[in-house]
Symmetry: C2
Subunit: 268 residues, 2 copies
C-alpha cells in the first residue's frame, strides 16, 4: 500500500548511508507543474530525502536548460534530477530529458532507461508505470497469463506499462484513438489500464465483470480532477483504482523510491 512504500523509503533513508537528494527543475509557471513540484518537495521531506528547487524563466532556451542540468549532473551531492514537463514550446523536450545523467534520471524518461526497460535490464523505471504495477501487486491482482489491455500508447505510461505487464507474463494489447471495436477488445481484459486522457471515457459496458481496472487519467473538468474511467465502472469491476487517489499518490511515492534507488545504485 501507499503508506508502506513511503515508510519503506523513509526506513531505508533513516537506516544510514548518505541521505538522498532530489533536484527538481521547473521552467516557467505552468500552474499544474507548480503544484506537482510543491508536492514532490513535500513528499521528499516526509521520507527524509533532501531536495532543491531550480527555476528557469518561461523564455529560456534549450541550451540553458541543458546547462543547468549539466551543473546538476556534475554535483556529487545530487542523487536524482527531475525536469518537470511540459516544457515551453521553444525548449526541445527530448534534448532536455536526454541531458539528464541516466543514473540520476528518477523520472525514468531518459531513452537509455526506457531502452533498458524494453531490454529487461536494470533501469530507473518511469514512476507512473512502476506505480501501476505496485498497485496491482498490493491488491493481489494476478498478472501472469491474464489478458491486459492498455488504452493509450504514451511514452510516459502506455508503452512502458505494457512492457512491465509483458515482463510479468500478461498477454498485453495496446489500444489507442485509431483502435476499431475498442469496446469488444477492452471487454476481454482481466486487467484494464486507462491512460488516454479523456474524462470518464471507460464506461461499464467496456469492462468485463470482475476485471481489475486502473484509472490513470487526470483530466481537469470544472476545477475538479476526473479520471479516464466512469465511476459507475466500480460496480462492474472486481477492483477499481480510483481518481483522485490510486495511481497519482503511488506515482509520487515511486519518485521517492527511484530517488533512493538512484542514490543506492551509485554507491560502490
Amino acid at each position: 500500500m501507499l503508506e508502506e512504500v513511503r515508510q519503506g523509503v523513509a526506513r531505508r533513508v533513516a537506516g544510514g548511508g548518505p541521505r538522498p537528494h532530489l533536484s527538481v527543475v521547473l521552467v516557467g509557471h505552468h500552474p499544474a507543474s507548480e503544484t506537482y513540484v510543491r508536492h514532490k518537495h513535500r513528499d521528499a521531506e516526509q521520507v527524509g530525502i533532501t531536495s532543491s528547487d531550480h527555476r528557469l524563466p518561461e523564455t529560456v532556451s534549450t541550451e540553458e536548460v541543458v546547462e543547468l542540468v549539466g551543473h546538476l549532473n556534475a554535483d556529487p551531492a545530487v542523487s536524482g534530477i527531475l525536469v518537470q514537463t511540459p516544457l515551453p514550446p521553444q525548449v526541445a523536450t527530448g534534448v532536455a530529458l536526454e541531458a539528464v545523467d541516466p543514473a540520476r534520471d528518477v523520472d525514468g524518461l531518459h531513452p537509455l532507461n526506457q531502452g533498458r526497460l524494453l531490454r529487461d535490464e536494470e533501469a530507473l523505471v518511469a514512476c507512473t508505470p512502476a506505480g501501476i504495477l505496485r498497485l496491482l501487486d498490493d491488491h493481489q491482482v494476478e498478472i501472469e497469463g491474464r489478458r491486459a489491455v492498455v488504452i493509450g500508447r504514451s511514452t510516459i505510461v502506455g508503452k512502458p506499462v505494457a512492457i512491465l505487464l509483458l515482463r510479468r507474463n500478461a498477454t498485453v494489447t495496446v489500444c489507442h484513438s485509431r483502435t476499431r471495436e475498442l469496446d469488444e477488445i477492452s471487454r476481454q481484459a482481466d486487467i484494464l489500464v486507462a491512460a488516454l486522457g479523456r474524462p470518464h471515457f471507460v464506461r461499464p459496458e467496456m469492462v468485463k465483470e470482475g476485471a481489475a481496472v486502473v484509472d490513470v487519467g487526470i483530466n481537469p473538468v470544472d476545477g475538479k480532477l476526473r479520471g479516464d474511467v466512469d465511476p459507475a465502472v466500480a460496480e462492474k469491476a472486481g477492483w477499481l483504482s480510483p481518481v483522485p487517489g490510486g495511481v497519482g499518490p503511488m506515482t509520487r511515492a515511486m519518485l521517492m523510491w527511484n530517488t533512493l534507488k538512484a542514490e543506492q545504485l551509485r554507491r560502490p
Copy 2:
C-alpha cells in the same frame, strides 16, 4: 521489394559522399554466426559499402570485447559497428552491446536506440523489425486501425516490432509462452507476426482467413531452415512471408540501409 532496398542503398552510396564502412565483430566460431557474418560482408560488397572483419577468440573476456569496440568507436572511418550475437557465456552481452557508439549501432540493439524507438524519436532501428515493416509496406498490407498480433516478446524482434506497428496505428497484442487461448487471439489478427522460434508452430486454424502472416522463425531442423509458420497456412492467409526468404533477406538489406543511415547521420 528486396531488390529495391538494395538498389536504393547502392544508388545512394554511388551518389557521392564518403563511402560507408561496416565493421563486424565476431567472437569465436559459432557456425551460424560465421555464415551470417560472411553474408553481411557479401551484402556490403554488393551495394558498394566497404567492410572489415574483427575476430576474437572464443575465450575472450567482456573487457576485451569492449576494448575492441572502443577502438572501432574511435575510428573516424567506421560508419557502423555490429557485434555478432550470440556471444560466449563468459561475455556480458548487455555490456558489449552497450559499448557500441549508439550513432554507429547499425544493429539497433543499444538500449539508447531501443529507448528512442519506444519514444518515437529518430533512432537506428533493429534490422528485423524494420524489415518486417518494409515487407508489409511492399505488399500493400494496410496497418492503420488493423489488429496486429505478435507471437514472441524478444528484445530483438517481438517488442520492437510491436512498437513499430503501434506507431503505424495498428492495435497490437503481444503473445508468448504464457499466453492462454493463443489460437483464439491469433485468429483475431489481420497481421500476424510469428517470432517465437518454434518450427511450424502457427497452424492454419490459428489464422484468420485473408490475414497477412509474417514468418520470422529460423529454426534449423534436420539441416534445413524451418519457419515458425506451417506452410499450410499459405492457403488460408491473404499473404504469407515465407521461410526461407521473406524476413531473412530483408533483414540483411536493412543492415545495409542502417549502415548508410549511420554514415549520413554523422555528416554535418
